[in-house]
Symmetry: C2
């Protein structure tokens, strides 16, 4: 096996020399070949192949001030939540999108609060062309610390001063929740409970608001705060059943929670959906575990949220709206096709625009 790691990598200079052109021309070819006559393009291409030339990204960045890299910040202290397939799917979607635009994904996981300064410093350091920040909690100081780099939040950030005007991508949590609850109402359910997510996250708050929009005068005992996990869903469901044994519907803040709830309902001998109808959120079930029984869920096309990028320097994102998955409680996926978008587009520029 040849040890290529010690051999000096060929430079543009070497390519140019081999092709018998100037460095400038070689550079043009490497960057697309615009404005270079065909025979020269051909010669340079061959030289590149023969030498196995790969551009030095550092040198390129030094002059272009572009990095072809985007940071993904996951501001989630808890390992467990990071292990949530929701993140994994999002990451994969982002990765796909970045790859399509020749960009790299730099993953920044924060280890507790003190780490925010480190992340902010890194982002300010101009190492990446932009940042995507996920899983912010309501009182998170991170938005106030980020300067100098276009930032898009995954999920509506809380209304702190720093995040006012921030650009974010989110699905219509409130509307989706409304649809979910209306679906239960449409099934004739009257005692509909809600297991919310952790209320320090806007997605949980918005889904709760959506629930309240429909169930304005609901018994407050029908609402339990949980934490988006199956275990939390179990605990919440037990509490709900103890409090309100007569409940006949449950809207869970996400599918993991719903999975836990289903387990408890089964354990307590309630038939789903005959005795208690359950609706989840996210359409994550196929990726976590076989729901038993299958579950209605609000679909959110997580992996497709990172949308196309018309311009390399100005990535754009779309706001998605979940479509409701559907009438019959025994299907995972809604028949209505992929999530519809609002059609509005947000330029990924910094807050304050």
């Amino acid at each position: 096996m040849t040890d290529q790691s010690t051999a000096p990598r060929p430079t543009l200079e070497a390519v140019a020399a081999r092709a018998g052109v100037s460095r400038a021309t070689a550079s043009r070819v490497v960057n697309g070949g615009e404005g270079v006559r065909e025979p020269l393009v051909e010669r340079v291409r061959r030289a590149v192949d023969e030498l196995g030339y790969v551009p030095n990204q550092a040198a390129r960045s030094l002059v272009t001030r572009r990095h072809d890299a985007v940071a993904v910040v996951i501001a989630e202290p808890e390992t467990r939540v990071f292990a949530d397939p929701f993140f994994a799917l999002q990451l994969r979607g982002i990765s796909k999108e970045l790859t399509a635009h020749d960009s790299q994904l730099v993953l920044l996981l924060t280890e507790g609060r003190d780490d925010h300064a480190r992340v902010a410093r890194y982002l300010a350091g101009g190492h990446v062309d932009g940042a995507l920040v996920f899983s912010l909690h309501l009182d998170d100081p991170l938005p106030g610390l980020i300067h100098g780099v276009p930032t898009v939040y995954g999920g509506r950030p809380g209304w702190s001063d720093a995040s006012r005007g921030a650009v974010y991508v989110d699905c219509d949590n409130r509307g989706g929740a409304r649809e979910a609850v209306r679906h239960l109402v449409g099934l004739g359910r009257r005692r509909i409970a809600h297991i919310s997510g952790a209320l320090d996250q806007t997605s949980a708050v918005d889904r709760l608001d959506g629930y309240r929009d429909v169930m304005a005068d609901a018994d407050p005992r029908l609402i339990v705060e949980s934490d988006f996990t199956p275990g939390g869903g179990e605990r919440a469901m037990r509490e709900l059943l103890d409090r309100c044994p007569d409940l006949d519907g449950v809207f869970a803040a996400n599918d993991l929670t719903a999975a836990g709830a289903l387990r408890v309902l089964r354990e307590r001998g309630r038939r789903v959906p005959e005795d208690v109808a359950v609706v989840g959120f996210d359409d994550m079930l196929p990726f976590t575990e076989q729901a038993d029984p299958p579950l209605t869920t609000v679909r959110q096309d997580i992996e497709e949220i990172p949308a196309t990028t018309p311009s390399r320097r100005q990535p754009r994102f779309r706001r998605h709206r979940p479509s409701l998955g559907l009438a019959c409680s025994r299907r995972h996926r809604p028949p209505r096709g992929p999530a519809r978008s609002y059609g509005r587009r947000f330029p990924a520029t910094q807050a304050g625009a």
Copy 2:
């Protein structure tokens, strides 16, 4: 909000000028201050603070040929598997370790086979100081494509020519499996089944081998290949119960599989561990779902596998051995403390050394 993104970032030159020293001295201070007298160090530090100077990594890399970045390649085509908390934990452990050494984590997810060339090109491009490659399948062509960058595999790669001599980190899957099965034997179980992982991955093969080491003359019908997922575990368990209703022990290739198996055992009315004792692998349960009932598992300290790095340029890793979690079937974690290591250390250099 001031728009710092348009203001030109200060350079070392500016810092030097403000501190009244040369660029060389300023550079020395920024890089640790070795060999610079205290008053100058102080002045430079202050200038850095006042100007908000952050080194330009591109310029630095251009000359040092270091990037302070490591690529993590997850060669896993299936979204579902990527969502496995096992990866999430590994990523978090790696992130922690890299952060401690001021390195960044560049995440490379492959989208199917064709993507391997892209990944190999990126790695060859000298963008990163090293690569960690995970979740390789037995016939994966990736090891043959990677050149020019120190590579460490997470999990023993298959014995293709390209990966011969490759450096890898893995736990002692075979030994751990042996311990797990011996544990079941020690409980007096005689009809011990094995639900293996996908046998195109060495970890699955090794665990199966470990099972066979102990159960040399086992009924072949007691072995079912599965896929490391809860759903797969359910299917496998059903098949096993149909084939061998008299089984009294199950060694599952990982905890997700075990969780699925437990669900089916409960469904079929078998008591665990009275009727059927179950042992998993990975000690992942706390991160996935409440196992019901709790499960014995072979502990693998996933998050701690990426070990300390004595030298920044030559990261080192330790090989870990799982410790067995334990006699009583009702605890998650073994009381023996963290995984013990072999004490051997592997320099993270390229294959062929």
